[in-house]
């Protein structure tokens, strides 16, 4: 009786470790499937559209408001030591290195990891995955690979678009509300932003995209039975993808920028 909380803790730790192991295997299977034919181009095209193009509005809106808020915050912070003129460069660097990829990634995780997990989970529950196998089609190649590839390619593009819109958001607030000269704002942005600031953010985006689709597919393929099973798979996909994005972001930042 006394030991039951300890036993519970042990059980959940074991379950977590087992899940990490299974996810690792799934990751390896996905990589193996990426390299072997057949390749399903039609499914890849559809995934590119669903994950990439359809995420543009949500990523764009997120970036626009974030860029605007960032400009206000940096202005308020900078004014404490008479450094208001850093607004354009910090907005640009902040968006490109950190906020563009992380917030964009999180929004895509919310939109895409959930929809992939729900779609594949429903396919599993209604025996469509079994049907694929009996029709000599490997679900890993037909469902997972197109989605993972599409997300890995399209999230960096979304990040690039988000960066631009975020910087534009900062520009609108900077010139409209904070009294910056438009030409000076743009010059400051361009002068201080380095290529590596942007590239590192795009690499982060690719890693996040890969993780989002992989996690969505994993939880979909391992969905429990019924509506509850699919619901749980969807929730777990979003939560896991979000946490993994933060963890990967820290590791990548450490790797790219640690002195």
């Amino acid at each position: 009786m006394l030991l039951s909380p300890v036993a519970g803790l042990g059980r959940s730790t074991l379950a977590l470790l087992a899940m990490i192991g299974r996810m690792g295997l799934f990751f390896a299977q996905t990589l193996a499937a990426v390299l072997r034919p057949p390749f399903y181009l039609r499914e890849f095209g559809q995934a590119l559209w669903a994950i990439g193009y359809n995420s543009l509005p949500v990523v764009g809106m997120t970036a626009l408001f974030t860029g605007g808020a960032l400009a206000l915050q940096i202005y308020a912070g900078g004014s404490r030591f008479n450094a208001e003129e850093v607004v354009p460069s910090i907005v640009a660097i902040g968006m490109a290195r950190e906020l563009g990829p992380v917030l964009g990634g999180l929004m895509v995780a919310a939109r895409v990891a959930s929809s992939i997990a729900a779609e594949i989970g429903t396919m599993k529950v209604t025996e469509q995955i079994d049907a694929l196998v009996t029709l000599s089609t490997d679900p890993m190649k037909y469902l997972t690979v197109p989605r993972v590839l599409a997300a890995t390619i399209s999230v960096p593009v979304l990040v690039a678009v988000g960066d631009s819109i975020g910087i534009f958001g900062g520009y609108v607030v900077g010139t409209g509300r904070l009294g910056f000269n438009p030409a000076a704002y743009l010059k400051n942005t361009a002068d201080f932003l380095e290529m590596w600031d942007v590239t590192s953010g795009l690499i982060k985006g690719a890693v996040f995209g890969f993780l989002i689709a992989l996690v969505g597919c994993y939880f979909g393929m391992n969905s429990g039975r019924g509506a509850q099973g699919v619901g749980r798979a969807t929730k777990s996909a979003v939560v896991t993808a979000s946490v993994l994005i933060f963890a990967a972001n820290y590791l990548l930042t450490e790797l790219f920028f640690a002195a």
Binding site: P38, Y40, Q46, M123, T126, E127, Q128, D130, A131, L132, V133, T134, L135, S136, T137
Partner: protein, 248 residues
């Protein structure tokens, strides 16, 4: 010929199959009956390789199904799933022609569509449904499309997983008739799992009853009513009293 020898399968502590021995001769229609949760679907999935048995062997024409090349092996099979399991992102004809649009049996799109429409006609559906999506069809129509998909690549062996569940009695009768006609016409080996006795009498050449993880009785459908087996008698007559415990 499909042969199962001493097949075992457990999920955790739950022993589902505990030594199943069964032979399905080529060209015969075998129906497996048994209560819900007795492992009929698991048995079918073991043969298809969707579930790996813990012990025992499953042979298809003398070859072990677990060591065969998957793609080649599965191209001999067609399966009608309980809920039809149509792909909802694809139109009806793309579902039917799924195998013909990709993989080793791939052929030109026009030809695949023509075959799909021909198979749809065979199951009593007109070409007007070809471009609809599965969600736009009734349950009975979905079953028919599932049947058309199962037979599209002319398989030698067809599995039917509870083909009449969820259908009204008349539609169930139509599906039973279709299954019987198609199996005879194609000369295919059929294996059906069901607990619908009307379906059994309409489809089966042979019947096997699965209970407690083993085949309790098997024989020709004509001998089913006079088997003298108390389990089978209780099941086919739908009696609450008997050796099979019924939870009230």
């Amino acid at each position: 010929m499909i042969e199962l020898r001493d097949v075992h399968k457990a999920f955790g502590a739950k022993k589902v199959l505990q030594g199943v021995d069964l032979t399905v001769p080529t060209g015969e229609s075998m129906v497996i009956i048994g209560g819900s949760g007795t492992g009929k679907s698991v048995l079918l999935k073991c043969i298809l390789g969707l579930v790996r048995p813990d012990a025992g062997t499953i042979l298809l024409d003398g070859k072990d199904v677990t060591t065969e090349e998957r793609d080649d092996f599965l191209s001999h099979f067609g399966m009608l799933f309980q809920g039809a399991a149509l792909f909802d992102s694809l139109t009806v004809w793309q579902n039917v022609a799924f195998r013909l649009l990709r993989g080793s049996l791939k052929r030109p799109k026009d030809e695949a569509r023509e075959i799909a429409i021909e198979k749809l006609r065979r199951v009593g559906l007109g070409p007007d449904v070809a471009d609809l999506f599965p969600a736009e069809l009734s349950g009975g129509m979905q079953k028919r499309v599932g049947l058309a998909r199962a037979i599209a690549a002319e398989p030698q062996i067809i599995f039917f997983d509870e083909p009449t569940t969820g259908l009204d009695p008349i539609m169930a009768g139509v599906i039973n008739e279709l299954i019987r006609e198609i199996v005879v016409e194609m000369g295919a080996t059929a294996m059906t799992i069901t607990h619908d006795m009307t379906s059994v009498r309409a489809i089966a050449d042979d019947v096997a009853m699965l209970h407690d993880g083993v085949i309790k009785w098997s024989g020709p459908v004509g001998e089913m009513d006079n088997s003298g087996d108390p389990y089978l008698d209780q099941f086919i007559n739908g009696r609450a009293e008997g050796p099979i415990e019924a939870v009230r």
